[in-house]
Amino acid sequence: MNAYLSNLDQIESWFFNLAEKQLFFLPKKTQGVNYRFEPIDHQQSLDLLNYKPTILPPGKNIFPDDEILFSYYKDDDGHYQFSQGVTVNSQLLAGVRACDLKGVYLLDEVFSDGVKDSHYLRRREKTDIIAFNCMTPCDDHCFCEAAQSLDFQMGADIFITPLFSTSHKGQANEEQQCLLEVLTPRGNELIKSLESTECSSPQDLKNHAIASRPQPFGRQFSAPIEQLAKAIHQKDADSVYQQYAEQCFSCGTCNLVCPTCYCFETKDELNLDGSSGKKTRHWDACLSPGFAEVAGGHNFRAEPAARQHHRIRRKFDYLPQRFEQTFCTGCGRCGRQCTTGIDIFNIVNDVYLSVQESQE
C-alpha cells in the first residue's frame, strides 16, 4: 500500500476534520500525570509524541466493561424473545502506540479463535486505528523493545512514524515531518482528507528514523524473551512469586489495565417486572481471590502466589503456546499503576535469575 508525508500541524487539522464525521478517540491528559483515550476535544493540544500509555489501553474500547451480551423479554405466550445487545457505532482510535496496537492484535486473535466472539468482532470491524510509532521510550516503566512490540504495525489502518527527534518536545527541528503508511483500504479512505505528499521511498526514511532512536530502547531483560519464557515454564521459582505476593493487594489493577487481559465475568440481570432482563459481561481479574472459586467453596488458586504465578505464565507461557506470541506487550501499565509497586518486568527477570541460579 501507499505511503505519504505530512507534518504534525497538518495531521492535527486532519484529526479534527475526521472527528466531524465519526466518534474519534485520542489520548488526553488527565488532571494529574496520566492520559486517557477520550473523544477529541477542540481545545486539546495534540500530545501524541510524549504521552505516556493511557490508564486503560485503547483495546478496551473494543472490549468494553459492562457490555450487553443479549437482552430478552418473555412474550405473552411465555416464549423468550432475545435481541443481540446494543448497536455498535463506528469509532476511530488515533495515536495508538505500537504496544497497544499489538494488544489489540492479540485480542483479535483470541476472540476469533474457535467459537467466534461476535460482540468483540462486530465492534472491531467498526473500529479504525491510526497508530503511532514511538521514537523515545515513554517512561521508565516501558519495555516494549524487550517484549518485541516496538514497531509492531499489524492491525492498524494507518501507521505514523515521526521523522524527527521527539525527545525535545516543542523545539522540534525541521517542520515535524511524519511518514504515514497506509495499511488497509479503510486507511486509504481516511487519508484522502489529509494534506500530504506521496512518498516514494518510505522504507528508507523509516529505517533512518528507527536507526536514530536511542539504544537500547527502554528496559531490557537479563536474557532474550525466548529464554525467559523457558525459565518461566519451569516451576522452580515459587519463592519469587511468593515474595511478590506478599506485597500484593490482590486488587486486580494489573489485569484490568493490561492490553492483553480479557478474562470476564458474566452477569444476568432481571428487571423489576420479572420477565425481562439482560446478560452483560464485566472485566474480571485472575489476581482477584475469587476468580477460580467453584460452587461448594473450593478455590483452585486460593493463594496470592498461585495467582501471580498464573498471571505471569499466562502472559509468557500459556497463551504464547496457543497463539505463538508473547502476551505481554511491554507497555508497562501494570507496573506503572500497581499501587504497591509490583512490576511484571521485575518478576519476570527475577524468575529467570532464580531458575538460572537453581540450575547452577
Partner: protein, 290 residues
C-alpha cells in the same frame, strides 16, 4: 486482517430454550431433568452444556444422556447455589436455557474393542465414579451398554457418601445383566440405612481388578479430592499408560467458549480441551489435580 474477514452472524451467548419434559428427584439435592430441545444436540459422551435461565444465570452441567438421545437431553442437577437453586424450582413444561454442547468429551472409538485403525484390543474398561461423577460418565456408559458387543469387559466402581445419595440404582441394576460387566457399588457410610452394596472408599476395590494392563482404559470422575488417591492406587497396582487414563475435571465456567478464562488450568481450558483429559495431558499441568 485474516481473522475478521468472515462475518459473524450468530451470538454464541444466546441460549436455545428447551421444554422440561420431566423432573425426577433422585436424592435430596439432586434432580434428573429431562428436556426437549428444539434441535438435536449431537453431543459426544462427556460433553457438557451451559444450562440456566435468562435473567438468572447459567452454569456448566454435564450431559447425562447417551449420544443417541436425539432431541432429548438428560441432566442431573445438584442444588448448590444460585442458578441450580432456581432450576430446582422449575416444573414440567417450563423452559430452560441451554447452550452447547461444549468441551472435548470422550471419543467412543477409543474404547471400542478394536480401536480404530490402530487395531489395539481394548479388553478392559475401568470406570470409577465418585458421587456426582457418575452423571457425566453415564453418557459414556449408556452407549457402551447399548452396544456391549463392540466393547470388552467393563468394570464399574461407583461410590457415594451414603445410600441416600446413591444415584441411578435401578439403571445400574440393569447394566449388571450385560455379559462381561462387573459393577461394585460402595458407600462411605451406610448411615443406618439398608444397603446391599459394599461399604468403603472407591479406592478399595481397585487392587482387586482383574485386567490386562496394557489393553485397559481407565475413566475417572468425582470430587477433586478423589483423584489423587485413586490415581495413586492405580499406579501402585497396575502399569497403565498415562494416555489410557481419562479424567473428567471441573472448574468455574462462565462462557463455555474458551474465552472468559475462569476454567483455565495452566495453559489448557477446561471447557475446550476438557473437561475430559487424558492423564498424560495433565502430568505437566501443576494446577490440574491440586
Amino acid at each position: 486482517m485474516k481473522t475478521l474477514s468472515d462475518p459473524v452472524k450468530s451470538n454464541p451467548y444466546i441460549p436455545m430454550m428447551a421444554e422440561i419434559q420431566s423432573i425426577e428427584p433422585l436424592t435430596k439435592n439432586e434432580m434428573l431433568f429431562r428436556v426437549r430441545l428444539p434441535e438435536p444436540l449431537n453431543h459426544r459422551p462427556g460433553q457438557f452444556v451451559m444450562a440456566g435461565l435468562p435473567g438468572i444465570g447459567e452454569c456448566a452441567i454435564s450431559i447425562s444422556s447417551g449420544p443417541e438421545s436425539g432431541k432429548t437431553l438428560e441432566m442431573v442437577i445438584r442444588k448448590v447455589g444460585n442458578v441450580t437453586g432456581v432450576l430446582h424450582k422449575l416444573k414440567k413444561h417450563d423452559l430452560i436455557g441451554i447452550r452447547g454442547p461444549f468441551g472435548s468429551g470422550f471419543e467412543l472409538n477409543d474404547f471400542h474393542l478394536k480401536n480404530g485403525n490402530q487395531e489395539t484390543l481394548i479388553k478392559d474398561i475401568v470406570i470409577i465414579a465418585g458421587g456426582l461423577g457418575l452423571v457425566p460418565l453415564r453418557s459414556l456408559i449408556i452407549p457402551i451398554m447399548e452396544h456391549k458387543s463392540d466393547f470388552g469387559r467393563v468394570h464399574l466402581i461407583i461410590g457415594s457418601k451414603t445410600p441416600r445419595e446413591a444415584l441411578f440404582r435401578q439403571q445400574i441394576q440393569q447394566w449388571k445383566i450385560h455379559p462381561d460387566c462387573s459393577i461394585t457399588e460402595l458407600v462411605d457410610n451406610t448411615d443406618f440405612q439398608d444397603w446391599d452394596g459394599d461399604v468403603g472408599l472407591v479406592t478399595e476395590p481397585i487392587h482387586k481388578l482383574n485386567i490386562i494392563e496394557k489393553n485397559t482404559m481407565v475413566v475417572l470422575c468425582g470430587p477433586p479430592v478423589m483423584y489423587k488417591f485413586v490415581l495413586m492406587e492405580i499406579k501402585m497396582n497396575f502399569n497403565i499408560p498415562d494416555n489410557h487414563i481419562f479424567i473428567d475435571l471441573e472448574r468455574r465456567m462462565r462462557c463455555g467458549l474458551g474465552k472468559c478464562g475462569h476454567c483455565q488450568i495452566n495453559h489448557v481450558y477446561c471447557c475446550k480441551e476438557g473437561p475430559v483429559f487424558r492423564y498424560s495431558q495433565l502430568t505437566d499441568l501443576s494446577e490440574a489435580l491440586n
